[in-house]
Amino acid sequence: MRLNLKIWRQAGPGAAGRLEDYTASDVSSDMSFLEMLDVVNDSLVRQGKDAIAFDSDCREGICGMCSLVINGVPHGPDRGTTVCQLHLRRFKEGDTITVEPWRARAFPVIKDLVVDRSAFDRIIIAGGYVSVNCGGAPDGNAILIPKEISETAMDSAACIGCGACVAACKNASAHLFMSAKISHLSLLPQGQVERYRRVVAMIEQADADGFGSCSNEGECEAVCPKEISISNIARMTREYVRAMLVAGK
C-alpha cells in the first residue's frame, strides 16, 4: 500500500520545525507503523539524507520509548496501544498521516520526533520510591497483601512512562503519570511509611518542571497505552489532602 506522510522535522532543540511531506510506497498492511518509518528512513539513508529521528526500543509496547502523535492523537487511533504496536492495517491506501512529536514545555524537542522526557525521571527522583536499602528486607510473605489490593496496585504500576498522557492533555499535565506511581505505592503496605512526603514532593516537582494542571477531561486516560484510569488522579488528590491534614498537625 501507499501512504502520504506529513512528518515534523526539526534540526535541533532551538531550531524552527515544520511538517514535511514523504510518501511510503510499497509498504505492507502487516507492518507496524514504526516499521513503515524504518522503510522511509532506509531510503533516505541510501540517498545520504538525514534520517527522521524518532525514539523506539522494545517495539512491543512496554519500554515507553516510542512517542509519536499520529493524526492528532498520541500513539495513534488504537486504544490501549503504543505506536510501536500500531499496524498499518489500521489505515487505508492513500491516507495522509500527520506525525508530530509530543509537545509540552517540560518535554522539549531534541530533534525531529524525539523529545527529552527527563522531567519524568525528576518526578520519580523527588520521591517515587520506597526507601529500603538492599539487605534488610523481611521475608516476602511476612506481610499479607489482599489480592484485590495488589491487583489494583498493579493496574497503576503498569504505567510505561511514555508521556502520552502529557502529550494528549490540553494542559500538558503530568497528573496521570505521577498519580499512577503515587497510587501504586500508597496502596501497598510497603509504601505507607513515606506516603505523605512522597505525594507532596512529586507534585511540587512536576509543577516546578512546567507541567500544567488537570482539567479532568480524561484525554490522558483515553490515549494511555496501559489504559490507566483517572481514578488514580483522584486517589492522588486524596493522598494530598491527607498529607495536608497530617502536615497541619
Binding site: W8, N71, E100, R105, E204, G210, A222, M244
Partner: protein, 224 residues
C-alpha cells in the same frame, strides 16, 4: 513540610480550591433556583419569600462569603488557565479528540470562556436585581421583586441575553459538576459513572428552569 499557602498554590491544591468553590457555587445555584421557582406561585408568595430571605441578619455575611468564594473561583481558574497555556508553548499542527473514555466535550474545552461570560453575566445580573429599582409591594412595605422581575424580562433582548447565559451556565455545569467531584478526589467505581450522568442532568435542569423563568416572565409581563 509544605505550608498551607504553598499547598493551595500547587497544581493539585489549585484543583482542590476550584473544586470546592465550584461545588459551593453549584449548591448556591440549586438554592437559587429553588427560591426563584416561587415566582410561579404568584406575586405575594414570591415577595414574602424574598423578604424573609433578605431580612435574615445572616444574609450579609453569607453574601460576603459567596462573593469571596466566587472571586476565589474566578482568580484560581484564570491563573490556572494562564499557567496551563504556558505548559505547551508550541501547539500541535493537528490535534484531535482522543475518543472514549475521554470526557472532553465542547463544554469542557470552553470552561474558561463560559466562565468569563458568566463573570460578566453575574455582574449585570446582580446590579439589575440586587441593586435594581426598589419598588415597594403595595400595602405590605416589603420590596416588590416580582414587579422588578416582570419589568426586567419585558424586554425581549434581556430575555434573549438571559436565555443565552443560561445555556452557558448549563455548559459550564455540564463539565463542572462532575469535574468538581473528581477534583476533590471523590471517585468510586460504581458511583462515578452515575455522577457523570447526574452532573449533566443537573446542568440541564438548572439551566432549563432559569430559562423557563425568564421566558415565563416575558410571557406573563406581555399578558398583563
Amino acid at each position: 513540610m509544605t505550608t498551607r499557602v504553598r499547598v493551595f498554590s500547587s497544581s493539585v491544591g489549585t484543583k482542590l480550591l476550584i473544586g470546592i468553590t465550584g461545588l459551593a457555587l453549584f449548591l448556591y445555584l440549586v438554592l437559587h433556583i429553588g427560591g426563584n421557582l416561587m415566582v410561579f406561585l404568584g406575586r405575594d408568595v414570591f415577595n414574602q419569600y424574598s423578604h424573609m430571605l433578605l431580612s435574615n441578619p445572616l444574609i450579609p455575611v453569607i453574601e460576603i462569603g459567596l462573593v469571596l468564594i466566587f472571586l476565589l473561583h474566578v482568580y484560581k481558574t484564570i491563573t490556572m488557565f494562564l499557567g496551563n497555556r504556558k505548559a505547551r508553548p508550541i501547539p500541535y499542527e493537528q490535534k484531535k479528540y482522543a475518543g472514549a473514555p475521554s470526557r472532553k466535550t465542547l463544554a469542557s474545552s470552553t470552561m474558561i470562556l463560559s466562565g468569563l461570560w458568566l463573570l460578566v453575566f453575574v455582574i449585570i445580573h446582580v446590579s439589575t436585581f440586587k441593586y435594581g429599582t426598589e419598588y415597594e409591594a403595595p400595602g405590605t412595605g416589603i420590596r416588590d421583586l416580582y414587579r422588578l422581575e416582570l419589568e426586567n424580562f419585558s424586554n425581549p433582548l434581556t430575555v434573549g441575553f438571559y436565555v443565552l447565559s443560561m445555556l452557558v451556565v448549563g455548559s459550564h455545569l455540564r463539565h463542572g459538576v462532575a469535574s468538581a467531584f473528581q477534583s476533590l478526589g471523590a471517585t468510586h467505581p460504581r458511583w462515578t459513572p452515575r455522577l457523570l450522568v447526574a452532573g449533566k442532568v443537573a446542568a440541564a435542569v438548572i439551566a432549563g428552569l432559569f430559562m423557563a423563568i425568564a421566558v415565563w416572565a416575558y410571557a406573563t409581563g406581555a399578558r398583563s
